[in-house]
Symmetry: C2
Subunit: 318 residues, 2 copies
């Protein structure tokens, strides 16, 4: 330092030192700025692409919000009192020897935590799972284990069973104190109109609806003396329409991956859930689909995949 | 720039410019170095802690490696030919009407992909699940749905069923072409000696062992005309010792979280799987346990939790 600092022109040296100071500051700024922009470049790129592709995407419905529903539809707010359980016996075509079991099957833990349907639900789930597996094992002898597993899953999953509950109006008999359940059921009933058989993860399902179906199965199983044959005789028609190999649809995320693999295209999901309740689907780095705000992350991803499948031909000219 | 560069002493200016150049380079180095060290500081800190706590941890056995086993134990390499299936009927105490079903149940897809046990396994799994759920539903009337679910899971999970296969030597009858299966089974048999009832995720389980038990159940179910009662009569004793509420152990990861919550300690798993096949357990930022190299990530995490539970009193003086 000393050698390089000439003593004969102190004013100039001072100027140079100031310049040095300034330059160092600029360099520091430049480096930190570059690093910041480097770290945020991916997000920005996605955003830019999103904007430039905006017109390609069909308009999406505004996000459903329970508060809005509350304001717009007062009657949804007050669930009617549960109906008389005798009617359930007529629906099932089965008269309970032990009426206590029937009541048990329709009591949610919010209504009576010592007398809720959770244990019956566990039992009914196992019985149903066995019966559907058995039915399809013999019915579709040529189906491989993978397909058989998927078929079984589609017929005993939460959405399928919730549809069964709605179809036979089981929810009207439920004893519960879940303030939002009635509204959620109404939204579900509205949304499934779009998907006659199964949405494959595109709608939010009130789990309690599926639980009742399982608990009723558990209750009948006990009441009839553990006869799986009796349970199947009663529930085979209740569960209709069962999904078969022809009506079984692929899950949209799986289907999108399959389509892209076949066409040798690279598919990428951009998870913006935390930031904006959004998923984007990029295919070969081009925005092809998006799913927006909803209450559950997986549903948004499924909707993004579905949207991408709807747009893929248009955007990428496959 | 021009204003600050005096013309009257070009040599000195040149010297200053060189200095400037050098200083900028140093600043650049300093900044990037700091950033690098900032980003790697967490890992280093963990490492340091690991070293300083080394003596607190009991010595762990060297990682198992199939190649080592191969060298040290030649006889493990050549599996004997599958035994005569008639013996299985004696083990089960059940004579098959349809011997083809029995053969089917013991044929792995590597032996005959058009005649493998996978579909039978799917059916047997559903039947077993139902039977165990039913048995425990009536046996433990006071058990809540959560406990009942855990109890069921422990009795039908892969490790439990693999133990059943070993106990009754079902693996000797398997027709397969899986070169490593025989060795893996031998390691499994050795490792479970340490855990008489269930390891709760501390050992690696050859899934095929569990599959055979399920496929045998599926085969018996079909052969006896779909009678769940017959299946249970045969398999109730085969499945012994069943885990009951008293012998049901908590999963080590869950147990560690529970212990720490009770003592108001913060537990943190450090996942170094990608780097060194290791999991560390820090409790209140102190290293208390670690699990090392194994073939499956979840097992290493479980072992780390188990190790932490073993050490927790010693290290933290709880």
């Amino acid at each position: 330092m000393k050698e390089a600092t000439p003593n004969n022109s102190p004013k100039k040296v001072s100027q140079i030192l100031m310049l040095l100071h300034f330059l160092l500051f600029q360099v520091y700024n430049l480096i930190t700025k570059n690093l910041t922009s480097f770290f945020s470049s991916l997000i920005k790129e996605e955003k830019k692409e999103e904007e430039s592709n905006e017109e390609l995407l069909p308009p999406q419905p505004p996000p459903r919000n329970l508060d809005e529903v509350e304001e717009s539809n007062e009657k949804l707010l007050t669930p009617p009192p549960p109906r008389n359980l005798d009617e359930v016996e007529a629906i099932l075509g089965y008269e309970f020897k032990n009426k206590y079991l029937l009541e048990h099957a329709f009591t949610h833990t919010t209504y009576n935590k010592n007398f809720s349907f959770e244990r019956l639900e566990l039992l009914g789930d196992a019985v149903l799972n066995m019966l559907v597996t058995k039915e399809q094992f013999f019915l579709y002898q040529d189906l491989g284990p993978g397909q058989l597993t998927r078929l079984r899953a589609a017929n005993v999953d939460t959405e399928k069973l919730a549809r069964v509950a709605i179809k036979h109006e089981f929810h009207h008999y439920l004893r519960h104190n879940k303030p939002l359940l009635h509204k959620k059921i109404n939204i579900f009933m509205e949304e499934i109109l779009e998907y006659p058989l199964h949405s494959n993860g595109l709608v939010e399902v009130p789990k309690t609806l599926a639980d009742i179906v399982e608990s009723i199965i558990g209750a009948v199983f006990i009441d009839c003396g553990n006869s799986v044959e009796t349970v199947w005789r009663i529930f085979k028609s209740i569960l209709e329409p069962l999904i078969d190999p022809n009506t079984l649809k692929t899950h949209p995320v799986v289907e999108l991956h399959e389509v892209c693999q076949k066409k040798n295209k690279k598919v990428k999901f951009v998870d913006l859930w935390e930031k904006s309740r959004t998923f984007l689907v990029l295919i070969d780095n081009q925005l092809v689909g998006k799913g927006i705000h909803d209450s559950r992350k997986d549903i948004v991803q499924n909707r993004a995949a579905k949207n991408a499948l709807d747009n893929i031909g248009k955007v990428l000219k496959l």
